[in-house]
Symmetry: C2
Subunit: 163 residues, 2 copies
Amino acid sequence: MDTSANLMVKLVLDNWFGAIKRTDTLIHSLTDEQLLQETAPGRNRGSYLLGHLTAVHDAMLPLLGLGDTLHPELLEQYIKNADSKTDHHTPAQLRQYWSEVNEVITAKFNALTADEWLQKHTSVSAEDFAKEPHRNRLNVLLSRFGHLEYHRGQIAYLKGKAD
Amino acid sequence: MDTSANLMVKLVLDNWFGAIKRTDTLIHSLTDEQLLQETAPGRNRGSYLLGHLTAVHDAMLPLLGLGDTLHPELLEQYIKNADSKTDHHTPAQLRQYWSEVNEVITAKFNALTADEWLQKHTSVSAEDFAKEPHRNRLNVLLSRFGHLEYHRGQIAYLKGKAD
């Protein structure tokens, strides 16, 4: 793997970690009461979006072949049967899961080489991957980076809301 | 430049163009009346965010050394002296500028080689770039991809709003 590819992986990771850090700063700036409010009238609550982002990040572990999810119950609650009206967890629990999941995936991401980032993810067969080499780990990370920013823009609407 | 680096550039571009396409679909699904509404109470209107995204994308032309901006007036109106309460343009004009700017940058982006994506952008000196090789065109594109998704998540809140 040449220098260019290593540099490109670093760029993607830096942007990913930057988005995680900005989300950390955002949710630390919100009170639990703010987090429980709707981000806009009739739209998802901040707590739901935090659970959703945590579940999606946790699910990257098996998808990227990096281990089992830490909180398999989140998948059902925040992705498959998403119901943003139900409180499955307290804001304190969600904040803890968010930090924990991101800490674990950060360590795993930093350990991958550029070559490994270009290997297939686990939802694509070896046959399909031979024809579609873009279905690799790095593409999943790019997609999840966009997903995080999408919802961060929505959670940001809780800033300045009355408790 | 090896195959890995070419593939990585393709991944980033595919994610970028995917986000542009999803934004196109979103704004085409909104009426002009919806676009003129606030995305959430007291927050930016859809029309302002569309002008802002267009201005930021237009500004990538000089930043990436790919030419002059098409609509220099947008810089002042939607970035420097942002005032989301003022109507500088009609929704029809903003839709047209958005399409036009993205069409031009798409053509320019597709013409760049992987090597050229790793060249410095115009806001960094050659001396600084030698020490900080991540300050390149590809990093700008990654950052703008996140920026687009951030605001797309907000514009999406206009869906289903009464005209």
